[in-house]
Symmetry: C2
Subunit: 354 residues, 2 copies
DNA sequence: CTGAAAGCGCTTACAG
DNA sequence: CTGAAAGCGCTTACAG
C-alpha cells in the first residue's frame, strides 16, 4: 500500500531452502542436521550450522507440525487463570512441559461452557498432542466427542461425567472432612459451610466431607448453615455476611476455597468480630497468600506440584507409549490440613454475646 | 505395535478433501464456504455444510497458517504467571484477544532470561502474528534481534532499553509518589520503602517517586530505610523484618508491590505490632486480594483492563494497518491511590515505645 | 458460478 | 554418506 514506508521485505522468513543454498547442500541434509536424525559429515554439518547462524534461521513450526504430525504443543483449559489456585497449577504444568520440550497453550474458559467448547476446538485444530482439561462444566455431549476424537486427554481437579479419559483428582471429600473435623476437635459445635458452585464435584465433595464429619461427631447437619458461593472472592463475603446475620450464627465456618475465605475475612471484619477469637474459619487450597493473610489462614492444602507431575505423567504415557490397552487411570491425591491462625479452640462463653 | 489394542485409526483426521468428496465438490469450494471468501451457490453451500457436520470436520490450523501466513495467534511472555498481577493482566489480554478471534500462547519466563529467550524463539517459530512482552530482563542483544525481525511487538509494564517497539507503561514514578505522599499527609515522617528487584524499571521508578515525595516534603532520604525485595511474597516479609529490627524503625512503609505487602503484614504480625495503629503500609498493584487482606490494603491501583486494551490496540494497529511509518507509541497510564485500612494518621506519641 | 493446480516450509521414505 | 521428490492440508491466484 505504501511501499515507501513498508517494512523491510527481508521479513520474508528465511527458510530451510535458503540455508541449504548458502551451505551448498540439499534441504534434506539441513533437515537432518537440525534434527540429528541421520549422520552428516563433519564438514557439511559445520557449513549448515554456520549458514543457519548467519541467516538467523528458525524452523517454521507450522510446516514441521503439518508434515511430521508432531507439534510438541499441549493444551490446558482452566476455568479462571486469575484464580490463584489455577494460576499456580498452570505454572507448575507449564514448567514441567517446558522441561520436556513442550509448549503449553493455556486457555481461560472464564467459567463459560461455550468458550470452553470453542477453545477445545481450537486446540484440536491447532493439532496439540495432548489436552489437560479442568472443566467449567461442559455438557456430556462435548466431552464424549472430545474423548472419542482420540486426542490424549487428562482431566484434572474436577470429576467429569462419562469418563473414558484419565483423571487426576484431589480427595475433596476427605479435605472437607479434615477441615470440619479440625473445627470439631477444637470444640466448635455450630459449624457452617460455604460451598462452591453446585454442580462442580470438588465443591460437592467438600461439602460431603463436611457433612460426614458432622454426622460422625453426632452433630446435626443444619441446612441454613450451608450457603453456596461460586469460588470467587465476593461470594465468600456475601456468604459470610448471610451466616452472621442468622438468628443463631455459627462459631466456625468451613469455606470451600481460599478465595472465598479471604472474602469471608472481610465480612467478619466488617461486623467487627474478631478472628479467630469469635469465629474460626478454615479455607481450602492453600494458595500462597493463605500464609500472608491476617490471621494466616488455616486451610486444606492441595499438593499442586504433585498434581501437575501426575497430570503430565499420565498425558505423556497416553501420548507416547503403546498405552492403548492400558485401562483408565484415576489418581486421587490426598489433601493435608495446614493449621495456622484462623482457627482456635472454642472458649466456652457463659452466654453468647451478640 | 499392538494393533489389536490400537486406537481406532479413524483418528486419521478428516481433511478438507474428505469433505469435498462427500459433498461432491472441489476442495476449493469447501475452502470458500468455510472462509466465506467467495460466493457459493446455496445448493453447494448446504451440501458442504452438511458434509462438514457429518464428518465432524475441523480445519487443520497448521496447514491454514502455513499456507495463508496468518495464524490468528498471539504470544504473551510474562515473568510469573502465578503472580496475581500478571495473572490478571494475562486474563484481561486473553479475553480481548479471544473476542477478536485470536488465541494467546502464554509463556511463563519464570524470571529467567534464558527461558525468556527460548520462548521468544518458540513464538516466532510458531509464526505468531504479534508478541506482547513483559520482560524479566533479557539482554539488549536479544531485544534488538527481536525488534529487527519485524514481528509486531509491544512491550508492557516494564521499560526496555533500546526500544523500537511500542510500549504500554504505568507511571510508576507517580505511583510511588502518590503512595509516599499519602503517608506524609498522614503525618508520618519515618517512611521506609521496600523496593522490587533492582534493574527493573517499575521498581526503580516507584522508588524514585518515593524519593521525590520525601524531598518535596523536606524529609531526609535515609539509605537504610530503603531495602530491596524481589516482588515475591517472601522478600516482603524479610524486608519488613529487617526494617523493624532497625535501631530507629520506620512508622510507615511504602512497599512496591502487593505480594510483598502481604509478606510484610505477616512480619508485622510476627512482631506483635498492630497495623495500622503502630505502622502504616501502602502497597502497589491493587490485586484483588488487597481488599481482602486484614486490614484491607491501601495501595496503588494499576488500571489493568485499560492496560490490556491499550496493548491489544497497539498490537493490532501494527499487525493490520499500514502502520509502517507510524512512529513509536509510548502510552503511559496513570495509577490511582486506593485508601483502605492499612494506613492511618500518625498519633503523636509522647515517646516512642519500642 | 466452480475447479485444477501451484505452493506454503518442512520431513521422510526411497534411491544411489 | 547425500539428494531428489513426494506429500502433510490447506489457500489462492488463474482459468473458464
Amino acid at each position: 500500500m505504501n511501499p515507501g514506508f513498508a517494512r523491510e521485505p527481508n521479513n520474508t522468513a528465511v527458510t530451510i531452502q535458503d540455508v541449504a543454498d548458502l551451505a551448498g547442500v540439499s534441504i534434506t541434509t539441513v533437515s537432518h542436521v537440525i534434527n540429528g536424525t541421520r549422520f552428516v559429515s563433519e564438514d557439511l554439518t559445520q557449513r549448515v550450522l554456520q549458514a543457519m547462524d548467519q541467516l538467523g534461521y528458525k524452523p517454521n513450526l507450522l510446516a514441521r507440525g503439518l508434515r511430521s504430525g508432531r507439534t510438541r504443543t499441549l493444551g490446558l483449559v482452566v476455568p479462571d487463570m486469575a484464580n490463584l489456585f489455577f494460576a499456580e497449577i498452570s505454572r507448575a504444568i507449564e514448567e514441567i512441559a517446558f522441561n520436556r520440550g513442550y509448549s503449553l497453550i493455556i486457555c481461560n474458559s472464564a467459567d463459560n461452557p461455550e468458550k470452553e467448547k470453542t477453545y477445545l476446538g481450537v486446540l484440536l485444530a491447532k493439532q496439540v498432542e495432548g489436552i489437560i482439561f479442568i472443566s467449567a462444566g461442559s455438557s456430556e455431549d462435548i466431552l464424549n466427542e472430545l474423548e472419542r476424537c482420540g486426542v490424549p486427554l487428562v482431566y484434572a481437579d474436577r470429576e467429569i461425567p462419562s469418563q473414558l479419559a484419565d483423571v487426576v483428582l484431589l480427595d475433596n471429600e476427605f479435605g472437607g472432612y479434615l477441615a470440619t473435623n479440625h473445627l470439631i476437635q477444637l470444640g466448635h459445635r455450630q459449624i457452617a459451610c460455604i460451598s462452591g458452585p453446585s454442580g462442580l464435584t470438588p465443591s460437592a465433595d467438600r461439602v460431603a466431607g463436611y457433612r460426614r464429619a458432622l454426622v460422625e461427631a453426632g452433630l446435626p447437619v443444619c441446612p441454613e448453615y450451608i450457603v453456596s458461593g461460586d469460588f470467587h472472592y465476593h461470594s465468600g463475603e456475601i456468604g459470610m455476611l448471610h451466616l452472621l446475620d442468622l438468628e443463631d450464627p455459627p462459631d466456625a465456618v468451613f469455606i470451600s476455597n481460599d478465595m472465598m475465605a479471604f472474602g469471608s475475612i472481610r465480612a467478619v471484619r466488617s461486623r467487627n468480630l474478631r478472628l479467630p477469637e469469635q469465629i474460626s474459619i478454615v479455607g481450602f487450597d492453600d494458595i500462597i497468600l493463605a500464609q500472608a493473610s491476617s490471621p494466616a489462614l488455616t486451610t486444606i492444602a492441595q499438593p499442586i506440584q504433585q498434581m501437575a507431575e501426575k497430570v503430565i505423567e499420565l498425558l505423556f504415557m497416553r501420548m507416547h507409549s503403546n498405552s492403548a490397552g492400558m485401562e483408565r487411570q484415576r489418581v486421587i491425591l490426598k489433601p493435608e490440613l495446614i493449621i495456622r491462625d484462623s482457627t482456635r479452640a472454642l472458649i466456652q462463653q457463659p452466654e453468647r454475646t451478640r
